[in-house]
Amino acid sequence: MTKELLEGNFAMAEAAVRAGCEAYFGYPITPQTEILEWMSHRMPELKRTFLQAESEVAAINMVYGAACTGTRVMSSSSSPGVSLMMEGLSYIAGTEVPVVLIDVVRGGPGLGNIAPAQSDYNQLNHGGGHGDYHQIVLAPASVQEAIDMTVLAFELAEKYRNIVVVMADGSVGQMMEPAELPEMRPVTRIQGDWPVTGNVGRPPRVLTSIYIDPPAEEVYNHKILNKWYDIQANEIRYKEYYLDDADFVVVGFGTAGRIALTSVRAARAEGIKVGLLRPITTSPFPFSQLDELSKRAQGMLVVEMNTGQMLDDVRLAAKGRLPVEFYGRPGGMMPFPDDILGEIRRLAHTPLTTEGDPRKRWMDRVRTGELMLR
């Protein structure tokens, strides 16, 4: 196959189709409605299931139902809609059925706006619905990655019977880039020992998230945590740029990460030895890679389109060994490369400390006007 110029939302939708997604349930919300709209014509054309649900609450529960039958199923939404899905996601986690969700994150909280943002990092990576569970979160930064992550999402979901979220943002969703779609793979149903398909010739199966006996629930909690350690051991993905000889490390995921790449190149041109680590799985998070980097670098800069959410994970990895600084644009604002370049220069040329709270330092600089927001 050759490269085509593809829009991110469309590309993720078609990638899901080609990955053998057999059913899609969703509800319109900007900036991901193109996914729903593409599915509304593409799925019926292929005699697969498309349904516009009455709400995101309903959509995720439709997904839950279809997933229980071993069908490759997905939904897509954006921040306010994903908030509504949290209940359903918790039940899905409590039942261990594979589900893929694309979240094209937008500015918040509340109704917020439809501009690109990364403000749901905590919700997707650390929070989510009630109860003790983890979901895999993939953070594409380009249209090609969005395609590849969508395909990978289905594979990981089924391999681990786990929720996988593709955490995009409005920029990845609306941007066009040359990219290659995968070959169409046939639709198949999972043949494990768990899907409910009617008990012809076998004892009935029950899929439920209820463990009324606390000891049984405890065992289940242990089980899914152990599974999570498996996932951590095998599925961490990230991309490194110019890190071999780097004295300074920029860390950013998704769109913020790729914007930082331009800044890192500009800083290199000025002779600053700086590199970039762009986590692709933000959950599981590349803790050990950052742990290693924190042993040899002199300073880190975390760049996000929020007020510092992944920052906490980076600090956990850095263990106070080196100064960690933060630069963020929340609310649907995107930083320009020269904004981040200024922060890299500051990292390289001013005395830094491992003391205090980097988020507070950043906020104080914004508040006092020392850091100009343009």
Partner: protein, 259 residues
């Protein structure tokens, strides 16, 4: 020759209950008419300062900019719940929601049913334009059979996408409902009748007569892909046969009122 004596008469002014902020609605959209009718009624009843509006998520999300009274902005579909909260703690105020068909009949179905079921003493202005305007023209629960939208590209197929929901008829079934009617905004005569109905709905609330709702058949020329004039004709020709303009519930005390 004598100069003819002309008597200057005000025939048209902006109601005090409208703020004067230019709306962001598309040319020919009937949201603006509905706003004006509500504002005129609030003026006539002299309740503007006792009124709290609840804006929905949809094209009328910024309704609070256009009304000259207190307003809150709800999450998508939740306006009736928010209105309940307000009315329960401010029982002597006039509380109304203004909701589109996606907001009220899709994601907010639960909230609207229960507010009617409880006979919550609020007024709902329900804009039925058979489409999701704000997100760019997807299918709504009120989309007509066969109607093309961006998420029913081959027309609404009732076999897989179901039949349009008739909200006024449905809500009128609830014993808690005091006044539930459907009107249309496609021509001056119908607009006058719509205004009358809105007046009755607010009067019902003022008298504590239970849940009141006026469903207003409206146009969305932008997402229907027609001119404003064509949209009015399309409404009359296609929507009214499916959504008859009727009174579905008028409790006797109200029927006796004269304004």
């Amino acid at each position: 020759m004598d100069t003819p004596q002309t008597e200057v008469q005000t025939v048209y002014i902006r109601p005090a209950s409208l703020s004067g902020t230019p709306t962001h609605y598309c040319p020919g959209c009937t949201h603006g008419i509905a706003h004006r009718l509500v504002a005129e009624v609030l003026d006539e009843m002299n309740v503007r300062e006792q009124t709290i509006g609840v804006a929905p998520v949809g094209c009328s999300v910024f309704a609070y900019n256009y009304f000259n009274c207190d307003f809150v902005e709800a999450a998508h579909g939740r306006a009736p719940a928010m209105a309940t909260g307000i009315k329960r703690v401010m029982p002597n105020h006039i509380v109304f929601t203004y909701q589109g068909d996606g907001d009220l009949a899709s994601i907010g179905m639960s909230e609207i049913m229960h507010v009617a079921g409880r006979g919550e003493n609020i007024t709902v202005i329900f804009i039925n334009n058979t489409i999701y305007g704000m997100t760019g023209g997807q299918m709504a629960p009120t989309t007509l059979p066969g109607q093309r939208t961006t998420s029913s590209p081959n027309g609404r197929d009732v076999e897989t996408m179901g039949y349009p929901l008739h909200m006024a008829e449905l809500l009128a079934q609830q014993p808690g409902a005091g006044y539930v009617v459907r009107r249309s905004l496609h021509d001056p005569k119908n607009i006058r009748q719509a205004k009358k109905a809105i007046r009755v709905a607010f009067e019902a609330q003022k008298r504590g007569l239970g849940f009141s709702l006026v469903e207003l058949l409206s146009t969305c020329p932008t997402n229907w892909g027609v001119t404003p004039r064509e949209a009015l004709g399309w409404l009359e020709e296609h929507m009214i046969p499916v959504y008859p303009l009727q009174d579905f519930k008028v409790i006797p005390t109200l029927a006796e009122l004269k304004f």
